[in-house]
């Protein structure tokens, strides 16, 4: 029982970080049909900007985070504007875009490593006091991260369901041509999508680094796999699917770690992903791509 609860606790933290990341990732896929495997490298670059502001500009980590979020947004926007969009204009097969994304990932990750070196970094930030309830253990920091996650997901829900832009995003993702016939400037919608998802990416990168306590240029390289698992579980392109998928994967990995063996905790995520790809490539709920 205590194993279950404590693992559940850790699961919730991983899930919180993963959810923020995956929602951004899946929105990019939904609106522009780009499987942006370079997402992890943008995350880690943002995390480093936060570190820089926190460590060298002596800003409070939470303040510095704004810089990280900003970086993620701008970087993602530029990425789409100057790499993915031009390639898509040549209407190449999706696989080419994936290969390009992998190339971008290498440039992003190791470009950063070339600049900051291979050493690892921690934010100047206290974990706050240990909180212990219902057999779960959290540091205040982690509770804040979970809080941020809930707020952010709430905002995304509000954006998609109740704002003009959000509806335009969903419309564009469903049928871009018809959206244009209805007067929607889809190019702007796409740009804002990448700005917003990029902001999520930057945020995810920072909280990822905060949660692990220490990170380096390559820390997020394999994180994309967890995101893929979460996305395909909830249905590619579905923001809500991504939220559910992320929570499931986050909790499942930590539970398997608690009960089975932490060394193999990612394995369950891999199995889920391969299983989904094989049997339900459009997710448990989704039948087609819908935000």
């Amino acid at each position: 029982m205590s194993v279950f609860l404590s693992s559940l606790g850790f699961g919730l933290i991983s899930a919180a970080v993963l959810a923020i990341a995956t929602v951004g990732f899946t929105m990019q896929f939904a609106v522009t049909n780009v499987l942006n495997l370079a997402y992890g490298s943008v995350m880690i670059n943002s995390a480093f900007v936060t570190y820089y502001l926190n460590y060298h500009a002596h800003l409070n980590a939470w303040v510095a985070m704004i810089g990280g979020v900003f970086t993620g947004a701008v970087a993602s926007y530029l990425l789409n504007r100057f790499v993915f969009t031009p390639f898509q204009r040549r209407n190449l097969p999706p696989i080419t875009i994936v290969i390009v994304a992998l190339g971008v990932d290498l440039v992003g990750t190791f470009g950063l490593q070339a600049i900051i070196g291979g050493s690892y970094f921690s934010y100047k930030q206290s974990l706050g006091r240990e909180v212990h309830f219902w057999g779960m253990y959290f540091s205040t920091l982690q509770l804040i991260i979970i809080g941020i996650c809930i707020v952010v997901l709430g905002l995304i829900h509000w954006l998609l369901k109740y704002t003009r832009l959000g509806k335009a995003m969903r419309a564009t993702s469903a049928n871009a041509t018809l959206a244009r016939n209805s007067g929607v400037r889809t190019q702007r919608v796409i740009s804002s999508t990448w700005l917003i998802s990029g902001a999520l990416c930057g945020l995810a990168g920072t909280v990822f680094a905060m949660n692990t306590g220490v990170f380096d240029a390559t820390s997020a390289q394999l994180y994309i796999v967890l995101m893929l698992a979460a996305m395909f579980l909830g249905g590619p392109g579905s923001a809500y699917g991504a939220m559910i998928g992320a929570v499931t994967i986050g909790v499942a990995t930590e539970l398997s770690a608690g009960y089975f063996n932490p060394q193999y905790k990612e394995v369950i995520a891999f199995i889920v992903l391969l299983g989904m790809l094989t049997f339900r490539p459009f997710g448990l709920f989704g039948s087609e791509k819908t935000i």
């Binding site: 499987l35 696989i95 994936v98 290969i99 290498l106 190791f110 070196g117 291979g118 094989t278 490539p281």
Partner: protein, 610 residues
């Protein structure tokens, strides 16, 4: 001095290993269109198996400080053969990922993830291959007899590696430059159409996965025999990306390009950067290597997507008038009239035996129904097709003509109802088998194999080619050559008839809409169908020519070919189709000759009122 020679030997071995890997991956990616992002798994598997097969049982061998399975202590070349076989077997679990159903990029992601997963498992599960420490002190071949560290041995080893690489090169050329290779490239360009022409896409992909896996396994064996150690650190998933970079740089779909890429990227990069003195940040050079590889991938895909040595156009026609400028649609349509179609007789060209013409029912549908997301497009269509006739299918948009045709051909599964071929229920028969049985369909949308020449497009459709199978291809030109020449003859003859000879050797992708339609019709005919299902074959074809084609179809029907034609150009129906079936709102509305149908009020309604 001989220290340099040792280095040279090493470079030779690595060059050979990288070349083998790139050649194998290129066959999968460049020829069969398989983006195998898990390629490194196969090389690693081969390396491990070669290691444990050549080592003794682990308790005894070198103090038992490492554990692993097997340990059979086999003599060379058995471990290498074992590695190749294992590499091939390793392909089987991945077959499901490359099936027809899954999006290419999703499949690629799946393979990528598998590579990460397996690396982690091997890394953490010690009993299998000694975990992260890996298997060391792997005996080099004949290390008992000769000293593996001797210069002679090292060069001999390099020699063997190069010989193997060369053998691989020729083996793969043998496969890809055969009718089978043609089918592979056809599948790469358009798997649905290839399937409809009777190519078994799943089997083709599987065999390429296996072939590539075997070569990858062998390359791993060669490497481990040389460095005598294999550990998870040596096969991260990113290795595959490096190989992809190599192929993109060298030129996908070109064996020489693959080798060039191997020598430039994995080998060249590593060895050159080694000469750079350490800088104040030791991470810098290796990191920049990765950046450079990323930039190479993006840069080449943007500026030179075909690589340094692009895939070369196969010139088949005897009158090798290569690089014909593709004419714009306007001129070409006038050119099309030049065809001496009327004088042609396709019957012996298509090996049609006389007129066995009893007009019996050859194909029938029984309450065929299809719905998309709840909307019923075809409901309870029961029709009968007579042998040796041209049956027309007409009806307003959305009447379900194409859907019905697709269900007859098996490219679309009915929601309910049956399809009967000579009374036999073939509803569950996959489309490629129906095609082999002689049911050939064409497509409404352009469906040519873009990176095959016009002639290749036609020849690829000819059934029962002895060279159009993996074993057939292996037996080489001596086995299938003469027959292939014949096939090319036949294809050229038909091309002549349609007045397109001058395009024989230009890529089909470059033709005008009308010309592409013709290519598709010719291709369908060369598939020697017993039942020919045409979906709007005349759309965009010049009316005069359309009528010539119609006449030909009549003659073919007269000599026993059964034809079903969806067409909205009712003039065509008038001239050639009897009977004509009218569909409206997914149901059979009427049947008869056009003359009869015109008299029928409901038909006129269907067309004019609704």
């Amino acid at each position: 001095m001989n220290a340099i020679l040792f280095y040279v030997a090493t470079v030779i071995v690595y060059g050979a290993v990288d070349s083998m890997a790139c050649l194998a991956l290129n066959v999968q990616f460049g020829f069969a269109g398989l983006s195998n992002f898990g390629f490194i798994i196969f090389q690693a598997g081969g390396a491990y198996v070669a290691a444990i097969l050549s080592m003794g049982p682990w308790q005894k061998s070198n103090g038992g400080f490492q554990q692993y399975v097997l340990g059979w202590h086999l003599v060379w070349p058995l471990p290498w053969i074992g590695a190749a076989i294992f590499g091939g077997l390793l392909a089987l679990p991945f077959v499901f990922l490359v099936g027809k159903r899954l999006r290419g990029d999703f499949a690629a992601v799946g393979l990528l993830v598998s590579a990460v997963l397996l690396n982690q498992l091997v890394n953490n599960f010690v009993p299998l291959f000694n975990g992260a420490a890996g298997i060391s002190i792997v005996p080099a071949p004949f290390s008992g007899k000769w000293n593996p560290q001797g210069l002679g041995y090292q060069f001999a080893y390099g020699g063997v590696a190069v010989v193997l690489a060369v053998l691989v090169y020729f083996l793969l050329r043998r496969v890809t430059e055969s009718p089978y290779g043609r089918s592979l490239r056809a599948m790469r360009d358009n798997d649905v159409v290839a399937d409809a022409l009777g190519k078994n896409v799943r089997v083709q992909r599987t065999s390429m996965l296996i072939l590539g896996g075997m070569i990858a396994g062998l390359s791993g064996a060669v490497l481990v025999g040389f460095i005598n150690l294999w550990a998870p650190g040596a096969w991260g998933y990113a290795e595959t990306i490096v190989l992809f970079a190599a192929i993109i740089v060298g030129g996908a779909g070109n064996h020489k390009g693959a080798v060039l890429g191997a020598l430039l990227v994995p080998l060249g990069f590593e060895e050159v950067t080694r000469f750079i003195p350490p800088l104040s940040n030791p991470a810098l050079v290796p990191a920049l290597e990765w950046v450079a590889i990323g930039l190479l991938i993006i840069g080449f895909l943007w500026f030179r997507p075909d690589g340094i040595l692009p895939e070369r156009r196969r010139i088949l026609s005897r009158s090798a008038t290569s690089a014909v400028p593709v004419l714009s649609s306007g001129e070409s349509d006038s050119l099309i009239n030049l065809g001496n179609l009327d004088q042609m007789d396709f019957r012996q060209l298509l090996r049609l035996e006389g007129d066995a013409n009893d007009h019996g029912i050859i194909l029938a549908s029984d309450r065929l129904t299809r719905a998309f997301h709840g909307v019923t497009v075809v409901s309870e269509v029961s029709i009968e097709i007579q042998r040796g006739r041209i049956t027309g299918l007409i009806g307003p948009n959305g009447a379900g003509k194409s859907t019905t045709l697709a269900m007859l051909a098996g490219t679309l599964a009915p929601t309910s109802g049956k399809v009967l071929y000579e009374g036999r229920d073939i509803t569950s028969m996959p489309s490629n088998e129906r095609a082999k049985a002689g049911m050939i369909r064409t497509f409404q949308l352009a469906s040519e194999f873009k990176k095959l020449t016009v002639l290749e497009n036609l020849v690829s459709a000819i059934p029962r080619q002895s060279g159009d199978s993996f074993p057939g291809a292996l037996r080489g030109r001596r086995y299938w050559g003469r027959e292939d020449v014949e096939n090319i003859e036949r294809a050229s003859e038909m091309l002549e008839g349609f007045g397109l000879s001058q395009y024989a050797d230009s890529y089909a992708g470059g033709l005008s809409g009308g010309q592409r339609r013709l290519v598709e019709i010719m291709r369908a005919l060369l598939a020697q169908p017993t039942i020919l299902l045409l979906d709007e074959p005349m759309a965009g074809v010049h009316p005069n020519l359309a009528h010539k084609i119609g006449d030909q179809l009549m003659r073919l029907a007269a000599s026993g070919m059964t034809i079903v034609m969806v067409e909205h150009e009712l003039a065509i129906m008038d001239a050639f189709c009897d009977p004509v079936i009218v569909l409206a709102e997914g149901r059979v509305l009427a049947q008869g000759t056009m003359a009869e149908l015109r008299a029928k009020k409901e038909v006129v309604e269907a067309y004019l009122v609704g």
